[in-house]
């Protein structure tokens, strides 16, 4: 082996919520690049290959190059003067950084929100009403003999979900893998994922709720009007067959994606699915799992929940956590022009948000922490370059099933980690404010 080659075994890929920790990386230390990622899927390979350490300014303030120190000072000044700041993003960084972000929110009395609010936030809301019967991915791999994928396209968004964890993976009680399983896939269009399914169920757009509710009824032995076919595009016979299979399986799983959360019904869709999984436990063992998008969005949910009691959209202005989706979620805070400053970490709302929200984001002072240039950083007042987690920064992340996984590093980077920058911003804020800010109503 050449002197310039290093192997990093058991590294973790954080591109998607599968958070596969069996990456074996080949690092060219001379060029400071990852040249091979054994076990990675096509997305993981791109993730490792493309996150080389680029030469970029340490920071930009108003478009002018600056040092990290100067940017931290400017960021602290912006945040200390803001009356209704929002801290947003956090799904592509470590838990250690997320904890600092929440601490800053508590210190300045801001709002802390994560990309969950535009991803599986509705599923989190549904969870609060219905609960959830769920499992770690290893249970699914080792026991599941029936899988239903709903509103997602894992073949393109989470390739190893099929191969490492569900459809084709062999397990303790599923020794023949695919042959021991029945797979159904539900979507409004036939994606490449449909190829793995025994049953592809095409639903009319915006009619998932009706289909899920009909399945609930059929599972409970109620009559469903055959007119369901006109409404949803799915025939009663197909639904009856699926309901029967779900009741008769030994260990069933519903895995669901944005097809439910991002359309008409939102949290009602998620709740209907979670309720269906719960209902099925009267007949057999059945679990559900929201398929999470970004590498550490589950970590963000966990950290914000344990520190504040609520998973996202948390406001701390009154001195304690308050939760109200729609009121304290970032799309809304921006669209209504309420936030007067923003600290964006590892997210790009400037590309992904609705226009009205983006326009307001351009009108307020914004601080961005990101390894790469983004739409948000291009318009930000302060843009701080940070090192990429899982490639240059170690720490903790959570897989979509709440299993916590550690990160290994492969490429040294000159840039600070998000955790480091946030800790320093917090320290400076503490100097400026004198500790945590106490709202006037609570002060003695």
């Amino acid at each position: 082996m050449s002197d310039n080659i290093r192997i990093v075994r058991d590294a973790t890929c954080t591109f998607c919520g599968c958070v596969c920790d069996d990456m074996h990386l080949t690092v060219d230390t001379a060029a400071n690049k990852i040249t091979k990622a054994e076990n990675a899927c096509v997305l993981g390979r791109a993730w490792f290959k493309e996150h080389a350490v680029e030469k970029r300014p340490f920071a930009l303030i108003g478009g002018r190059e600056a040092s990290t120190e100067e940017a931290i000072e400017e960021a602290a000044q912006i945040l200390v003067q803001a009356r209704f700041p929002v801290i947003y993003g956090l799904s592509d960084t470590t838990c250690e950084a997320q904890r600092q972000a929440v601490a800053i929110g508590d210190m300045i009395g801001g709002t802390v929100d994560t990309t969950t609010s535009v991803c599986h936030g509705p599923s989190g809301i549904a969870f609060q009403s219905v609960g959830e019967s769920t499992a770690t991915l290893g249970e699914i791999r080792n026991r599941a003999d029936l899988l239903v994928f709903w509103g997602g396209n894992p073949a393109e968004s989470h390739p190893r979900l099929f191969t490492r964890y569900t459809v084709t993976a062999k397990g303790m009680y599923v020794p023949n893998g695919r042959k021991d399983r029945y797979v159904a896939l539900v979507d409004v269009r036939r994606t490449p994922s449909a190829a793995v399914a025994d049953l592809f169920m095409q639903v009319k757009p915006q009619r998932d709720f009706e289909v899920l509710w009909a399945l609930r009824a059929l599972v409970k032995g109620k009559r469903v009007d055959p007119a369901i076919e006109q409404t949803t595009g799915v025939s009663l016979a197909v639904l009856e067959d699926l309901a029967g299979r779900m009741k008769r399986c030994r260990y069933g799983v519903l895995l669901f994606g944005m097809g439910l959360t991002m359309t008409r019904g939102r949290h009602f869709n998620s709740a209907a699915l979670l309720a269906l999984a719960t209902d099925l436990n009267e007949y057999t063992h059945f679990v559900a799992k929201p398929v999470r998008g970004h590498g550490n969005v589950t970590g963000a949910d966990n950290v914000v929940s344990w520190q504040t009691g609520f998973p996202f959209g948390v406001n701390l202005s009154r001195g304690y956590p308050r939760f109200n989706p729609g009121e304290f979620t970032t799309v809304d805070l921006l669209a209504r022009g309420e936030a007067d400053a923003a600290l964006i970490i590892a997210a790009d709302p400037g590309a992904n948000f609705p226009q009205r929200s983006i326009e307001h984001l351009r009108a307020i002072p914004v601080i961005v922490l990101d390894p790469k240039a983004s739409h948000t950083s291009r318009h930000a007042r302060v843009a701080i370059t940070t090192a990429t987690y899982g490639i240059s920064v170690a720490g903790t992340v959570y897989r979509m099933d709440d299993v916590s996984v550690r990160l290994r590093t492969a490429l040294p980077s000159p840039y600070p980690s998000d955790e480091d920058v946030l800790t320093r911003i917090k320290a400076r804020l503490s100097e400026l404010i004198g500790g945590n800010r106490i709202p006037p109503a609570l002060a003695a």
Partner: protein
């Protein structure tokens, strides 16, 4: 007199795709991501009716905004008539409304858009 084609209303589904994911890693301002996120998949019969071919530009428009993207045809068995698929990106975002109905989540799938070919 020539018949004037009025814009048709179709349903836009935004979403991830394999190429959207890999090109995202390379960079949001690089050519491949720009191309992937500005290509709309359309039912082949719908394309024929609109008089557009693969690679032609169409305008997608609704109350939130508009985006000019290039077409790519799909067979009816894969993409039903009236449905469009566009990989997540700046174009898809422009068509998203800001009203979250008190949920925090804007509608990013099954968005009604008017579709018309862009005159060459």
């Amino acid at each position: 007199m020539e018949a004037i084609a009025l814009p048709e209303t179709m349903t836009l589904i935004g979403g991830r795709s394999s190429r959207q994911g890999t090109s995202l890693c390379a960079g949001k301002f690089e050519a491949e991501y720009l191309e992937v996120s500005s290509t709309v998949e359309m039912n082949a019969d719908d394309m024929a009716r609109l008089g557009v071919k693969d690679g032609d530009e169409v305008r997608l428009r609704n109350a939130s905004g508009e985006a000019i993207v290039r077409c790519k045809g799909r067979a009816a068995k894969d993409l039903p008539s009236g449905l469009l698929f566009l990989a997540y990106g700046p174009h898809s975002s422009r068509l998203m409304g800001g009203d979250t109905a008190g949920s925090g989540m804007p509608i990013s799938k099954s968005i009604a858009v008017e579709v018309e070919p862009v005159a060459k």
